[in-house]
Symmetry: C2
Subunit: 235 residues, 2 copies
Amino acid sequence: MQLFYSPNIQNNTIRIEDEEFHHLKVLRKAVGSELAVTDGKGNLFSARITEIAKHHCLAEIENTTHVEPPTHQLHVVVAPTKNIDRIEWLVEKLTEIGVAKISFIQCTHSERKVLKTERLNKIALSAMKQSLQFYLPQLNELQTFDDFIKATPQNTNLFMGYCETENTQHLLSQPFTYQNSVILIGPEGDFSPAEVQAAQKAGFEAISLGANRLRTETAAMVAATLINAKFEVNP
Amino acid sequence: MQLFYSPNIQNNTIRIEDEEFHHLKVLRKAVGSELAVTDGKGNLFSARITEIAKHHCLAEIENTTHVEPPTHQLHVVVAPTKNIDRIEWLVEKLTEIGVAKISFIQCTHSERKVLKTERLNKIALSAMKQSLQFYLPQLNELQTFDDFIKATPQNTNLFMGYCETENTQHLLSQPFTYQNSVILIGPEGDFSPAEVQAAQKAGFEAISLGANRLRTETAAMVAATLINAKFEVNP
């Protein structure tokens, strides 16, 4: 199945533009062609093209299927790496394996102070379509560690990947009490002792991801893979 | 710790050349400087530079530590993607999380028929040092699916990632009978029915990696992460 994306839906009409429109033209879709379209919010539309203009097309919805979101929602919170390619890669992979939300935090030891999420959103969109999902992960703008910690959610499994302590238990040995989880992954220079203390005070449990020293983006991907699998196997 | 690599060790002398030598010069190491060096075969040498020439340096071993390999050995067998960047990324990530061997197979639906492993070896080397490991994964040249299947090892957990069957169990629900595992990951167009049959005949169990359709390199990374974690938590 070739999946298209459009957030522009009014009444029974889907408007497709920009890259999605370009893609549709490359595939030589014409008036009358059937399309599978998602709004990234759990809806899958079966629609038929009614009009092709220069920069957009319109399609009429013939059938709508609402796909329930996964019962487990994972929020990955990561300090972006200096190298932007690694973050772009991470957003693609986290979207493929299926996370609900990705946030970026600026820590004491962060090397990157600015992050543009526009391109990252495009990457997430493409990965969502590629992996045939109907929910686009929410990408939050870069915020400070302190601001993030202030808004720590309740009734959520709270984990923090942390390298320095020797006695941390493996993520998979942790109790998963709630249906939703947050995993916090620090920058290359790790969290500062003050940040570790603040996170622990806010209820985050320091966990281990195994014996090896992992890069930031690898740690985030490994943690998300393990948490997702935990819920897939024992939902 | 800054780790160097050299496979050239004779008696008590380590010879460092090429990129490792360049790296050492960038770090302004001089005669008398102490170095941590691994041979990628489980040895960590503490050595002191005795001579710096134009294209190499020599260091004398002062202390040797042998690090035991992980009791669990994972062999990832993957059909390389059309896009070489994705394979390079995969080799880096598999090395970071710690696999013993990576093999490349050419399947009926493979789009890539040629693969040079020289650059991939350099990437594995860099990832090994980055993640402070002392074993370099073995990278095997591209071989046909048939040749690979003929040499299926005994007394090994054999898994095959396969998208098409609906009733496959999740990888983490499988029994892990042996200490060593092989995971087989197909090309973008998936294994052919004949390949699936041949693999099953050779003892490979078709497994699921979750609900989403994953790209080849994502599937390989997810599978390796889960198998490694299984042994880290219950060794």
